[in-house]
Symmetry: C2
Subunit: 178 residues, 2 copies
Amino acid sequence: MKMIAYMGVSLDGYIADKAGGVDWLNELPIPEGDDLGFSTFMAGIDALLMGSNSFRTILQIGDWYYDKPVYVASNSIQLIPEGYQERIKLIQGDIHELLAQLEGDGHQNIYVDGGKIVQACIQADLLDELIITHIPVLLGDGISLFGKLERSKTLEHRQTEVLGYGLVKSHYLIRNNR
Amino acid sequence: MKMIAYMGVSLDGYIADKAGGVDWLNELPIPEGDDLGFSTFMAGIDALLMGSNSFRTILQIGDWYYDKPVYVASNSIQLIPEGYQERIKLIQGDIHELLAQLEGDGHQNIYVDGGKIVQACIQADLLDELIITHIPVLLGDGISLFGKLERSKTLEHRQTEVLGYGLVKSHYLIRNNR
């Protein structure tokens, strides 16, 4: 099973403002219909593993971008909100238990979404690929994409693409010890 | 006068390890003689403004890369070390006073080097350009390039270049309010 993070991040490393908001992302002058390559990426994955904060953000936005099974990892969400029963599956456990459930369901290529869950994957040597889009903003404060690690990790750069609006998307493989 | 930062940074945003060391940079498999565009950049600047930590790191390494006037901003260094009297000028003061001294000496394009001094420039709305090279490493901990800001800043992406060894160099203009 392959775990892939696909994240937008300010140049100073934040995925959301201090309150978890992503208004600064919505303010980008991106014309409707340009998905910055997201649907091409989605075509190659089997399922999503999403943290509860990401799920709550998507609930607030009200749009649903996913045509693949979505697993929401949460110990705090007890009931699936109205309208999302067919869209998501709630799962619980540490990162190893979460991945075992996705693997048990036969998924091979997993899109991991959310700061905490991506950090947990990296820390456990379980993230295989990182597709990071640097947004030309210094946010100045907020929720960081990356957390502390006990040991440094070497990445292998695969590709960088400059999208419209000054977004720089880079694709890395992670060399894990496992 | 134009202030330009030119920094290498791990993908998780660190310019040095926790002890201020840059061994992880020296471990990059870069052949001797490939300066990754540094001399081309240096040809366009008039002077360097460097923090005391950067200067101490360069003293340890023992190499000297600069053929332009170098100003070292430090309240702690009292004496210029042996062999560096002709190479550097010690200056003191807050970021506005430092820049006034460089401007008084007639310099126009200033290369700002060092985490603290780059952060001070950004916070004071004085950094005009940022050339940032992402190194394909997750360092996991260390000294951050970026600090907190009271307000976010919009950048204008000019160019991105993939160098050898998976280094991704991006050039941004900073839209300051001043």
